[in-house]
Amino acid sequence: MWQALYEELAPAGLEIVTVALDTNVESARAPAEAAHATHPSLVDPEFRIVELFGITNVPFGMWIDERGIIVRPPESAPVPPPPDAPDRSAFLESLPEEQRRIIVGMTANAGDPTRYFAAVRDWVANGEASRFVLTPDEVVARSRPLPDAAARAAAHYELGQHLHLTGFGQDAVAHFQRAHELDPTNWSYQRQARALADPAWGTAYERDLFTEVGRVGPETWRPPLDL
């Protein structure tokens, strides 16, 4: 979908740079190749953009203008559904109440799924005059708060990543869990950590991810997109 938006708007001056947040680069290679991107398609195994910009889930987008000024900080970047997307309402109705509560909460902030692409189009058409362009003060104020706990979480996550990549995957789990305890709404940490867990380790995580989302607060999965 990003490639299609790029092809549509590149002639008008838009660049799209996709960044895969995958500690194991090979995990992202096949889906990246399937996208047939003609724009830069990068990978960030160290989660540098998570720490630098505060990216708490995917897909997230951030806008940078021609002068290198961030004009929208990271935020949920919903992709329009394909025209043949199935209607999920019957499926939702069939679920037990608790599961339905969690799924409804996880998508509560989604809003109109076409509005993010529409905002990008407006920016490309109108530049600085676009109503979606924020002032530098607004960009800073809208970026994620960084209390000491979140900074400590980033440090634990970095330790965990390093241990995982150097062959100490089971030792990494405690750091990944500490990062989650300190910064529970940064789902980038939990989603990647759990994807790295080896089934041979047994129950590395006490609760499954879905249950954990329900416990922390399903609406934190996708922060509100305030366009």
């Binding site: 001056g13 290198g68 490309v124 708060p145 000491d148 979140a150 970095e158 030792d171």
Partner: protein, 115 residues
């Protein structure tokens, strides 16, 4: 930033963290943070504990592996300013991409993942 010791040379600190120690303080890009007290010991090495404390960076340890990690300076928000920081990442073939390449165009950076 990871380290296996709590004293580093100034060059090691700069190559690992991007922070350079100058007379005006600890500098990264064109931002300098004054240091209230000396962080360089008599042996010329940087006391990482003192450095981190003055910059408001937390240190967490993994004693079994003899490793420490410094988190980002905790502050009001993740973005202290709206200028895009220097950032180079690699593509899937390992070729570096500097985000400054995008100057002159509007850039949407999109984070995705296989997980």
């Amino acid at each position: 930033m990871l380290t296996d010791r709590l004293d580093l040379s100034r060059d090691e600190l700069q190559s690992r963290s991007g922070w350079e120690l100058k007379p005006e303080g600890a500098c990264k890009g064109d931002v300098c943070i004054p240091l209230r007290s000396a962080v360089i010991g008599a042996d010329g090495r940087v006391d990482i504990t003192a450095f981190a404390r003055q910059l408001g960076m937390p240190i967490v340890a993994d004693e079994a592996h003899g490793l420490w990690a410094l988190g980002p300076p905790s502050a009001g928000h993740v973005l202290a300013r709206a200028e895009m920081p220097e950032l180079t990442l690699s593509d899937f073939d390992g070729a570096p991409y500097d985000f400054a390449t995008g100057r002159g165009r509007k850039v949407v950076m999109v984070a995705w993942a296989s997980w």
